[in-house]
Symmetry: none
Subunit: 211 residues, 4 copies
DNA sequence: TATGAATGAGATTTCATTCAT
DNA sequence: TATGAATGAAATCTCATTCAT
């Protein structure tokens, strides 16, 4: 009988609010975003927000979790694709994966971690445990497989797989900050990057050395 | 009996205040730092702050400028050291330069640019013009010298010198965020990074390729 | 047990606040009135004030408008009462109108215009358009009617209807300033004033002259 | 021996400061004028101001006194010019006197009295005693002389000489506020005003009446 | 659930006044 | 005298949070 046409399913609400918050946090930063703004963008009253998130900080945590959680599984699954050689994996799925990142909302979480991380150690720990160390382990295992295969030489990259993803972090921040000044062709840059890595991994161990 | 409230040192004050602000901005972020805090840390009254900086934003701009200005000259001077070969330059002064960065206050400016940049395009432009594009140009010229020398092959790195410094940005942020979780040996990582770069630049052009 | 803090009367609030502000501005002047005072007098929190008026200046403008708007129509309507001769109008409704002014809150707006006008040209323009020039026009039309009637001679008063209301401004300010020193009987003074005006308007044009 | 070329006579200082303050108070109002502004305009350091005027209020009082004092004598002297008939006096010296006012700095004191008077009763009393009541008395004596002469009839103007100067107050404020909207020809308006007054004072007492 | 008016603590900013020099 | 850097109390303004409805 009543007017229930415009009533949304209430279960969608928290997600909608989190999404609105994520967009605004990315745009203006956490501190500069007013709860009012989030409510307006989510099409919800301010009071309702406090029904789902007890404080603004809760909202921040929710935003961060909402970015990490759906990606954990994806990350885990990408790990071993045993049909491919290590080099094929790097030139294929790995390159494809990192190419997608600059156009994805990772920049949101990167910015939030950079700005708010120092005041929220538990978020940092959560992110480190569920994303960073997981990712680094995966890369290490990949390199090890290459070494075991005989594809790759043993190298310091196994200690510093960070170097494999550093350009991704760089590209994400660079594009978001200096996009107006320089349009970075991240696709080609990442291809070059992977090329360099593989070159190094495959080089004749008798030559070259490292400081 | 001592405490002399009026210290009369007009010339030193702006610098002292800027330094205090920089420290706090780095620690807690711009928004979360109260003008009061800066004043207290600088050992100065709140009112005096507004004698030197008309608004909190002016203070931010001053902090950013104070980081950039003294480094512009340093950057310019480091450019060409003609006695060295390009490779020697990379393994010597360049490596030394980037090794110093994670322990320097760069992380302050990186964080500030990431957080406040989007709302202060003129600061971003200033930083891009005076630091970023200058640095990239320098690297490009170095690579070109190597190519002209016959030391290096011609490569896509000339288009993407960004890859040469990406690990620095990475390390700065990584250490500041995850320092508690992993102590990154940036000295060795950077050495490995330079090694990889040179290996790539020197490799026999008949082999290798790029995706 | 009673005091209900939330009174929920959105529609009434702006008016209540404006009224409180008007009273205080009149009493102490705009600059010397603190927003806090207005809030307290309106029985409202400081924060709420800024929900309705974005700055203290907005509040001032609102006060001024609140004085002018309701009077515009009154002014318009008083214009022509065709059953009365021009003289009858002056001795009747006109006299009655100006007699009411010194006891009305006009002094508030007069003071505010005098003090704050110079820094708010748009308010001055608004007041001039909606009150002053309207009033002067009305007086001119009245005089013209008298001339057309044959009641009045044609005179310089038609150019300077200002002279007809100058005593009102005078009385308003004089009473508010020197009320303690001299109690001015404005009723009788205005009657004398109207008498003088009519005497002048009706005099035999062959006699008298003007410097 | 020393550099005393630029040293002003210290006795001129207070006057210079008062003049600067008067100009600024007139322009922006007392409250909106900063002590700093006055110092700058007077070409003096802020500290020095406090040597001559212990508080900002002292400065205000000084400004007001500086306007009143030099005019008291002038007013007294203008009183009786026995060679002239009352009408000649009104059409001559009186008209000339009031014509000068709108172009003089009276508007400064008028504004200051209107705005600051309510909070400084002693200033109001001072002004009333030394200017207002003095002026009204003078006008009353003039009218009395006319009546005694047989020039004028006895009238309510003797009770309300205020009506004789009301247009002056009006013109001063009107010009200062609405000068941009209407350029008032105060010379002609005052002439008309005096004409009306004299007409009334001289009219045949058998006719006319006053409500 | 849902609203948004209302609060109040706390932030930024202003400015008369002081005081070492 | 003369300066102007420095102070601090008080003003304006902001915003996360509450709560009557």
């Amino acid at each position: 009988m009543a007017q229930r046409r415009f009533r949304r399913r209430k279960d969608a609400r928290p997600g909608e609010i989190t999404a609105a918050a994520a967009a605004l946090f990315a745009e203006k930063g956490y501190a500069a975003t007013r709860v009012d703004d989030v409510a307006r963008r989510a099409g919800v009253s301010k009071g309702l927000m406090y029904l789902y998130f007890r404080t603004k900080e809760e909202l921040l945590k929710s935003v961060i979790r909402s970015f990490i959680e759906p990606r954990i599984e994806a990350l885990r699954q990408r790990i071993e694709e045993p049909e491919l050689s290590a080099e094929e994996f790097l030139r294929g799925p790995f390159l494809q994966f990192i190419r997608a990142l600059p156009n994805s909302p990772v920049h949101v979480i990167v910015k939030l971690m950079v700005t708010e991380g120092p005041r929220h150690p538990e978020l940092v720990a959560y992110y480190w445990n569920n994303v960073v160390s997981l990712g680094l382990d995966t890369l290490r295992r990949l390199l090890q497989r290459g070494v075991d295969n005989g594809e790759f030489r043993s190298s310091a990259l196994q200690e510093f797989p960070h170097l494999m993803i550093a350009p991704v972090l760089f590209a994400v921040l660079y594009s978001s900050l200096f996009g107006k000044h320089e349009k970075l062709d991240t696709d080609r840059m990442f291809a070059e990057h992977v090329g360099i890595l593989i070159e190094s991994l495959k080089r004749d161990p008798r030559r070259g050395d490292t400081g």
